[in-house]
Symmetry: C2
Subunit: 234 residues, 2 copies
């Protein structure tokens, strides 16, 4: 069996890339090394900070993302996955210059929500400020008539700080409690499912500890990449 | 701070590559994404099985390893790390055809043993049959006057089976007990330290549960790569 090669444009952050790579391995039916999917990863943590670029005029990450995508294409990848939700804001300017498709984690997550719920009226979103305020989720979901409920300003700031702490290597229980508590509050506000819409969040979130429905966008993207590699989709 | 880019020739197996990548991240002093080291990974699980090639005339993995190394070089890596001990048997035929250095996990592990013990007379080796019988460790250590103690045939077979079970995704307690028990028996035979000389073994080994000294070759290789990227070495 020859699988197609997945390209991963990662490093945003590196631990989230590890988590995504591990999801791909876990989702692949394999009994030995040779059953697994070939993967090429460019983990480039130098990509300028995405939320700062969106909100406060920080350096544009687009050139760095494009350079990485072209490296993956030249290295033989047939598709690109970008395990960073916030980076998706910039991808419409990268895709036209790359010869292979870039998976859209946000669209994939919408499809996954539909499969989970049948129909949806409202979902909750745990994500960075950049992802929330740029509307990458809001645009996709509202086009399909689904409302995206986001945290209030104080909770959003707490999420942002917890994400930065995870990027700094801090995974303690307090960080987990922030995500799980705010997710719960979104569910109480009417979210039928809560999206883990930042790839650092699954590193500090235990799905089995919460009573609301969760859609992990990292895992959704990994499943889409695996389905492509195994030729379950085009 | 601009770090140099590490190339990882992985996929042997994929989970061991994840473990190695994670060691690099853990060993890097970083407070934010941009402090981390750029890494390019080619995880190619299609590389023919190494132990079978060494022992029973299976397909030679050298061309596949060379192709991967060249992809990493073209993708901008400045050095290559191969997180598979058994693959080191084939690397002397790859290195001359690649323009960037390939780290030698076995030499690095010898240096790490010396740093740990001061001087060493004998070490134990937990590794695949291919690594043990091809003498990749024995050659390096005996050149320095250090004896390598290996398991008896029954224990060696048990290690090989446990490694294949880990590659198949099985990480249960029984697998861990095999490695820890056989390591203990090597220590009782005079090994001053026990080398985890197969990159699957750290996935099923808890160093804090054993009373003998352990040198994890995966971590040693990761440290060497990080030291190079941070320009602590040439």
């Amino acid at each position: 069996m020859t699988h197609r090669m997945i390209g991963i444009l990662g490093g945003m952050g590196p631990e989230a890339t590890v988590d995504f790579f591990r999801e791909i391995i876990r989702l692949t039916p394999a009994r030995k090394d040779q059953d697994h999917i070939p993967v090429v990863i460019r983990s480039d943590p130098r990509v300028p900070e995405r939320t700062q670029a969106i909100l406060s005029g920080g350096e544009d990450p687009t050139p760095c993302l494009l350079e990485g995508a072209l490296v993956l294409e030249r290295a033989g990848a047939g598709i690109i996955a970008v395990p960073c939700n916030t980076a998706h804001y910039f991808l419409p300017r990268v895709q036209p210059k790359v010869g292979i498709p870039i998976l859209n984690m946000i669209e994939e997550t919408y499809q996954s929500v539909l499969r989970l719920l049948g129909t949806a009226d409202a979902v909750g979103l745990l994500a960075t400020k950049g992802t929330v305020l740029s509307g990458v989720y809001g645009d996709v979901f509202s086009r399909h008539g689904v409302k995206v409920i986001v945290p209030d300003a104080g909770d959003q700031e707490a999420i942002q700080q917890a994400v930065f702490q995870i990027k700094a290597g801090t995974y303690d229980r307090a960080r987990q409690d922030v995500f799980e508590r705010i997710g719960s509050s979104l569910a109480e506000s009417g979210a039928q499912a809560v999206i883990l819409g930042c790839t650092e969040i699954p590193l500090g979130f235990h799905e089995e500890r919460v009573s609301y429905r969760v859609v992990n966008a990292t895992r959704v993207l990994a499943q889409a990449a695996v389905d492509w590699a195994l030729e379950r989709r085009g």
